[in-house]
């Protein structure tokens, strides 16, 4: 059974006269880490927004853990590009949001879970701070803790590190791999950064053209755990060049 499966799913934006996602089928096995790699505006976020239920597909079927998503709630954790921490809530109150909405826990129980989740992402003692007091990397980690507390096994991360500076970004990438290995989640990660995609994924799902009719699966010849030194490996360097060549065809100036 796949963690996520698309069966000839289509989507058309009301303002456009073609299907940006056109009879797309693909599946993702549980516990894997895939990056969806594509140029800006190719429609990769549309795939996420259909999976998390924000956009209704025009046709086809989306299954999570073998069951259609219609009418289901809390089957996936979605983390958008901006951290979207609410500035009027403390970090702890922000992270507690999914628990508050799911209901069923007392304030004390929520607080315990939140503190554990924050400690897990290395933000001990930040519970009562306001988001404005945190750095960019810390904010993204808080947003990740919030996503974890949705309790879903499928995590959809939409360019979560693209707004961070380079050094913070590469630390966050290593940190994310570590989180993934410890929590055994299924992660789908959208990016337009080739190096990021190669470093993070077990295999890269490439968007080769818009409208999206297929995702080309490109396996990454490196095992886990890995660190950044593997990027110097000749086979990975070659893979990077290959992917760049593939994507550049779609960029028109």
């Amino acid at each position: 059974m796949s963690a996520l499966e698309f069966r000839s799913v289509s989507y058309q934006y009301p303002s456009e006269d073609f299907d940006i996602v056109d009879k797309l089928s693909f599946q993702v096995e549980p516990g894997s880490f895939h990056c969806i790699l594509g140029v800006s505006g190719c429609g990769k976020s549309t795939i996420f927004r259909m999976t998390n239920g924000l956009l209704p597909p025009k046709g086809g079927e989306i299954l999570v853990d073998g069951a259609p998503i219609q009418g289901r709630k809390r089957y996936c954790g979605y983390m958008p590009q901006k951290d979207l921490l609410f500035p009027w809530r403390t970090v702890g109150e922000n992270v507690a949001l999914p628990l508050e909405i799911a209901g069923g826990l007392s304030k004390g129980q929520r607080r315990k879970k939140v503190e554990a989740a924050l400690a897990d992402v290395g933000l001990e003692g930040c519970c009562d701070k306001l988001p404005g007091e945190l750095s960019g990397g810390m904010r993204q980690r808080a947003a990740f803790a919030r996503t974890m507390l949705t309790g879903s096994d499928l995590l959809l991360l939409d360019e979560p590190f693209s707004a961070l500076d380079f050094l913070t970004r590469i630390s966050m990438q290593e940190w994310l791999l570590d989180q993934w290995q410890r929590h055994k989640k299924t992660i789908l990660f959208i990016t337009h950064d080739v190096e990021e995609a190669v470093f993070l994924s077990s295999s890269v799902l490439v968007v080769e053209s818009t409208p999206i009719r297929a995702l080309t699966e490109v396996p990454v010849p490196a095992g886990f755990p890995r660190d950044r030194s593997c990027l110097k490996d000749p086979s990975l360097v070659e893979l990077k060049e290959q992917l760049i060549a593939l994507l550049r065809k779609q960029v028109s100036l």
Binding site: C76, Y78, P80, K82, L84, W88, I101
Partner: protein, 252 residues
């Protein structure tokens, strides 16, 4: 508190200079029935303290308070309604704007005609000029909530109601306080205009009665009192705001 005093020091000095200029000018003119000096005004206020503070101030404050509360209820209801439904917005927004083109001083006598000399004609004038800034400002506040935040909560399975209380209401809170700070002085003005045009008590009425007696200082005394009350009220709202609003306009 101390830093607040320091920040206002230039304004206070400027104000003091103006008052002194007024004192000197008015003394030179020596026509107290047209232009009384500040000292004369305060003397008159002290002489009239009985009726001013026990009869007319409470009457005006009553009208202001009732008008302000009604404006808040009406303004919030309109803002929430217009934010919740496009249909309601298209229906009400133009009407709300048009209601502000009515010259209040011209229509107020009609209210007196319809509702008599009691407090309700005055309350109506107050509501007419106060509900507008509340409606528009709070509506803008509700609109300022980011759709991305609402979408995030939707993926957590939140209902419309939860989205309203967890995102829209906190986003609108700073706007709400700005609205009250505008509305408090306007409601006092509204009450005074209403009383000026027809009443049996109230500071506006009192000011007008003094005018018919050519008592310049007596006209000014209730006006100074009204300004002081408005300033104190705005100050209290600002204190409450500092307590309840921990953030303002952070872009993220």
């Amino acid at each position: 508190m101390r830093s607040a005093c320091k920040a206002n020091l230039p304004a206070l000095i400027f104000l003091l200079a103006l008052v002194m200029l007024w004192q000197v000018g008015a003394m030179g003119m020596n026509a107290a029935y047209i232009l009384p000096t500040p000292v004369q005004i305060f003397q008159r206020m002290w002489e009239l303290r009985g009726p001013l503070f026990t009869v007319h101030l409470p009457a005006t404050m009553g009208v202001t308070a009732i008008g302000l509360v009604l404006s808040l209820v009406l303004g919030l209801a309109l803002a929430v309604g217009m934010d919740a439904s496009d249909m309601v917005r298209k229906m009400l927004y133009p009407v709300v704007v048009v209601s502000q083109t009515i010259p209040t001083t011209a229509i107020a006598p009609l209210f007196v005609l319809w509702f008599g000399y009691g407090i309700w004609s005055k309350v109506l004038v107050t509501v007419l000029i106060t509900f507008f800034p509340i409606t528009i400002t709070v509506y803008d506040g509700l609109r300022s909530a980011k759709t991305e935040m609402a979408e995030l909560l939707q993926t957590y399975g939140a209902t419309r109601r939860e989205i309203f209380w967890k995102i829209k209401a906190p986003c609108a809170l700073p706007y709400f306080f700005s609205a009250i700070k505008m509305a408090v002085p306007m409601s006092i003005i509204g009450a005074a205009i209403g009383e000026w045009l027809g009443a049996q008590s109230g500071l506006g009425y009192f000011s007008r009665r003094m005018m018919t007696q050519l008592d310049g200082a007596g006209v000014f005394a209730p006006i100074v009192l009204l300004s002081a009350v408005a300033m104190v009220a705005v100050g209290i709202v600002a204190l409450l705001e500092r307590k309840f609003v921990r953030w303002r306009g952070e872009s993220s």
